[in-house]
């Protein structure tokens, strides 16, 4: 009963404001993007409700403050006036009455929260794994996305251009107009999966799953892939501080037509040569620390590394061969490259990369040093080993 009344009053206030001509321009400043998911429009509505409520309260308070400060300035007041310093009905009123808008805000917030967390039965489930400093998204068919923003990728024309996008940012396509549920966990520290355009985030924890869902929007065709297929790009950010490359732990969620999505899924499922698998694993899991252009990062570069002698932290050297790569992936502390110790920043990938992917990485690293022994497509004339 009471809650109905509060709801009615609050709803009326919200409807009145939504009619104000200034409401939409202000929403565009506050949010920059129009809401994409169904419940995110409700988040925007609640935010704007609170915003207008706050503006009104603030203006009244500040008006009284400045007006009285001016009116009762000392030069204008010759003799102090004894006015009451206590008024029980007034004080009770301003203690109790604010509870009404507060109750409305709480209930609206709770409803929006429930809507965001409880996914429809038919939602497509994506598995999200966070690790320092990448997002890994696995599709229902067990595949991962090979798409990245880069100059060589035809899919790379992201509209949210960024200086940072010169580094490879993974792209996760999802079909338009579908309910998509995320089941998320972390492989190391706490992360948070935030899609600002959908107005939602949840922490990604190492010891249990967290989850939310969103409804991908119907495409309007304002953004297009090079082949004319409509699309919409949304940033994904890590929102829980997780260390050195926290701010580069980003990805792009790309909404595409259902048919295009099905075609991508079919393409990815086909057989691929190991170095292609390796390149994909590299981009999604290794690129935040290892470069392939020779530059130094958190970890040593992979360019021209295979087949060489690696200087180690303990002063000795090791041959950069298949076994060294395998050991470094599964037990990073065993043989640490000189200059990256005394402890390796890298976590073990034991249990995270299967044999197919490790083979892929080895094949990819061979490709990055075509002159080395055992590398493909190059005559093995001399061996660097003694």
């Amino acid at each position: 009963m009471t809650s109905d009344l509060i709801n009615l009053a609050g709803g009326t206030f919200g409807n009145l404001l939504a009619k104000a001509p200034i409401d939409q321009p202000l929403r565009d400043i506050w949010f920059r993007s129009r809401p994409s998911a169904t419940y995110s429009a409700a988040v925007d509505d609640l935010f704007m409700w609170i915003f207008w409520f706050s503006v009104i309260a603030f203006v009244i308070l500040m008006y009284l403050m400045f007006y009285w400060t001016w009116k009762y300035r000392r030069s204008a007041v010759k003799k102090p006036i004894l006015s009451t310093s206590h008024n029980t009905p007034l004080e009770i009123a301003w203690t109790v009455l604010p509870l009404i808008p507060l109750a409305y805000i709480f209930f609206k917030g709770f409803h929006g929260y429930a809507d965001a967390l409880i996914a429809p039965q038919n939602a497509m489930e994506l598995k999200v794994e966070g690790k320092k400093w990448n997002w890994l998204v696995t599709y229902p068919n067990g595949e991962e996305s090979p798409l990245f923003t880069s100059s060589t990728n035809p899919d790379s024309d992201i509209t949210n251009t960024s200086t940072l996008a010169s580094t490879d940012v993974p792209i996760y396509p999802v079909p338009e107009g579908r309910a998509i549920k995320l089941r998320m966990n972390s492989l190391d520290v706490i992360h948070a999966f935030w899609i600002p355009d959908f107005r939602i985030k949840q922490d990604v924890l190492p010891n249990r799953y967290t989850s939310y869902w969103f409804q991908s929007e119907k495409l309007t065709g304002s953004e297009k892939l090079p082949d004319g297929t409509p699309k919409a790009d949304h940033w994904i950010f890590c929102a829980e501080y997780c260390g050195q490359s926290h701010s580069e732990m980003m990805a792009i969620l790309r909404v595409v037509p259902e048919a295009h999505f099905d075609k991508l899924m079919a393409d990815w499922a086909g057989n691929k040569p190991p170095e292609v698998i390796g390149e994909r694993v590299y981009k999604s899991q290794c690129a935040s620390c290892h470069s392939v252009d020779g530059s130094k990062n958190t970890g040593p570069t992979w360019k021209g590394a295979f087949g060489t002698q690696v200087p180690l932290e303990n002063g000795s050297t090791a041959l950069y061969d298949e076994n060294y790569i395998r050991e470094s992936i599964l037990n990073p502390q065993a043989k640490i490259h000189k200059g990256y110790g005394p402890y390796s920043q890298m976590n073990s990938f034991q249990g995270q990369l299967d044999e197919k992917r490790i083979d892929g990485i080895i094949a990819y690293m061979k490709k990055l040093n075509p002159g080395a022994a055992g590398a493909p497509a190059a005559p093995a004339t001399d061996s660097p080993t003694k």
Binding site: I81, S85, G109, I190, P206
Partner: protein, 594 residues
């Protein structure tokens, strides 16, 4: 009725009794002899005023350091990619790799800014610095209840901050000031910088506890004759409520930080899921302390505003008891809302309960704001630096409070948490609230502490610069937060650059404002000599000389009127010409009969 203030003739001849071996009637800071004699005197003093001044100097130094770190953070964010942090500060943090080390330098900068500002500036700023100086004076006491314990608290604070300083010297930490596990238990495995920093915070916690204990006993036992609970200035009520939180909540963070150290050293598996622990448990422990501590930070600031407004408006404060009880109400509710820092990692039921409880905190806070503004009504308002700061406080704190609403509501919080919206919100509360009140209070009590008047023109100029700079810096952060800018980002997508540039320009204006205050304060030390009661105030610290003598009062004051009876009594050391009395409404004087 105009002679109701503490009567100097109540103990005849008392003031002349001991003029014997030493002069106890000069300023508390007067020289005791040679330079080293004075150094020894200050190091071993049990005088609450000297201890307060030492806290004040330490807090101002740390405020400067924290401010420089903030400016470094803001400067780095002028560009979306890494710029200065790797190059300029790389040497300072002993990172020879410079820009190759990625964002680590930036991550250390914002961590240290947060840790220094929270643990070494805001928490001790008002209670330990101003509180120490003012609490006994306002109560009409000679000193706090346990003067030696008070000195010990200062040394604990000092050594705790040395540990933190040592951690910075070895390179600093990059965990964020919240030390979230498992990141904080796994980063920096070979060195002990995290342990040193955590140990520093742990040690400083004891200083907080002992100071709180000392103040609680002082308020209970050392009020001047005639001063009942509801005759205390509201600053005392605020400090009293703060002290309760410090005594009750600080042990929790102490044991939590100790567990963090044990986890790191012995790998016992409390927080690390790899060892069977729960990382979110740390967040519960941490916020069980750190949420009440948000009120350790803001309540004393509210106390200052409750003093400044009635004194400079020359008006009895509206709703004295409501403000006093609101302080205690905030104290009680503050222990029940820690979960609202964790909506995005809690279970659904916990998030819902904490969201509902969070809205309860809004009520006592709003009541205080209403009371302060209504106090202005029919006052006689002097516009000077402290009063201007009180108005700035009301402006900024109202924004800070109202922007708490979308963070308390669940659905909007899931969008806004860990974004720049949160950064802007807590800066409006912590800086726009506590620091603004602190600087306002510093101007208000500067004549009492130093015996000199600051220059009003430069004080007002600085205040206006701080106000403009603050809003330019932080209002832009609300906007970029809603637009999707995550906090603690060393690099960011280009869309947000315009807001970052404006915000950084604002931070430079802030710097200029604070520098104006600094030079104004330094210049004032050779400025006009302050009268004992320059503002015509009624609370007892203005009854003492400016600066007070070593034992505060020539003889014990006897309280015969309330601290806010403006217009009813002539203030100490003032004439009725300067502060005329109000005309009494007919038949309304019954309560003043004694």
């Amino acid at each position: 009725m105009s002679t109701l203030h503490p009567t100097s003739g109540s103990i005849p001849g008392h003031a002349d009794d001991h003029h014997d071996h030493h002069d106890h009637h000069g300023p508390y800071y007067q020289s005791k002899g040679s330079f080293w004699t004075n150094v020894w005197d200050w190091c071993t003093t049990v005088d609450h005023k000297k201890i307060g001044v030492m806290y004040l100097i330490a807090v101002l130094i740390f405020f400067f350091i924290g401010g420089v770190l903030a400016l470094a953070v803001r400067t780095e964010l002028l560009e979306p990619v890494r710029t200065v942090a790797g190059q300029v500060t790389g040497q300072f943090f002993k990172s020879d790799e410079g820009i190759g080390k990625g964002n680590e330098i930036y991550n250390r900068l914002f961590t240290l800014h947060g840790a220094v500002m929270v643990f070494m500036v805001i928490i001790p700023s008002v209670p330990a610095a101003l509180g120490n100086f003012l609490l006994p004076l306002m109560l009409g006491a000679k000193d706090v209840a346990f003067p030696r314990l008070n000195l010990l608290s200062w040394y604990i604070y000092f050594f705790g901050s040395m540990f933190a300083g040592l951690s910075i010297y070895f390179g600093g930490v990059d965990t964020g000031w919240t030390f979230y596990t498992p990141y904080s238990t796994t980063t920096d495995p070979d060195q002990s910088r995290v342990i040193l920093m955590v140990l520093g915070a742990f040690i400083m916690g004891f200083s907080s506890i002992l100071t709180g204990l000392n103040f609680i006993v002082t308020v209970h036992k050392l009020r001047a004759p005639g001063m009942g609970w509801f005759d205390m200035p509201l600053f005392i009520w605020a400090i009293y409520a703060t002290s309760i939180i410090q005594v009750l909540a600080t042990p929790v963070i102490g044991i939590t930080l100790l567990l963090l150290i044990l986890e790191r050293v012995f790998h016992i598996g409390i927080f690390d899921p790899g060892l069977g622990g729960d990382p979110v448990l740390f967040q519960h422990f941490f916020w069980f302390y750190s949420h009440p501590v948000v009120y350790v930070m803001i309540l004393p600031g509210m106390g200052i505003i409750s003093e400044i407004i009635p004194v400079h408006a020359h008006k009895k404060i509206f709703g004295y008891r409501a403000i006093a009880f609101a302080s205690l109400g905030i104290t009680a509710v503050s222990f029940l809302v820690w979960g609202h820092h964790m909506f995005s990692s809690s279970t659904e039921l916990a998030a819902t309960i904490f969201s509902a409880l969070t809205f309860l905190v809004a009520i006592p806070t709003a009541v205080k704001v209403f009371n302060w503004i209504l106090t202005l009504y029919k006052g006689s308002i002097a516009m000077n630096t402290p009063m201007l700061y009180a108005l700035i406080f009301l402006f900024l704190f109202s924004i800070g409070g109202l922007t708490g609403l979308p963070l308390g509501a669940l659905s909007t919080d899931l969008h806004l948490t860990d974004s720049y919206f949160v950064v802007a919100h807590f800066h409006y509360v912590m800086m726009g609230g506590t620091i603004i009140a602190f600087v306002g209070g510093l101007h208000h009590w500067w004549p009492k502490m130093t015996g000199r008047m600051y220059n009003e023109f430069w004080g007002m100029t600085g205040a206006i610069l701080v106000f403009i700079g603050f809003n330019v810096t932080f209002f832009t952060q609300f906007i970029m937060g809603v637009q999707g800018m995550p906090r603690r980002y060393a690099t960011y997508v280009d869309t947000f650059q315009i807001w970052h540039v404006v915000s950084t320009i604002g931070s430079y204006i802030l710097l200029v404002g604070f520098l104006v205050h600094l030079f104004n304060f330094i210049a004032s030390l050779r400025g006009r000599v302050a009268p004992a009661n320059p503002w015509g105030a009624l609370s007892l610290e203005w009854y003492a000389a400016s600066p007070p003598i070593e034992h505060n009062f020539e003889h014990e004051p006897i309280v015969k009127h309330g601290p806010y009876d403006y217009g009813e009594v002539v203030p100490f050391h003032c004439s009725e010409e300067d502060y005329p009395l109000a005309d009494k409404p007919a038949g309304a004087s019954a309560h003043t009969v004694h």
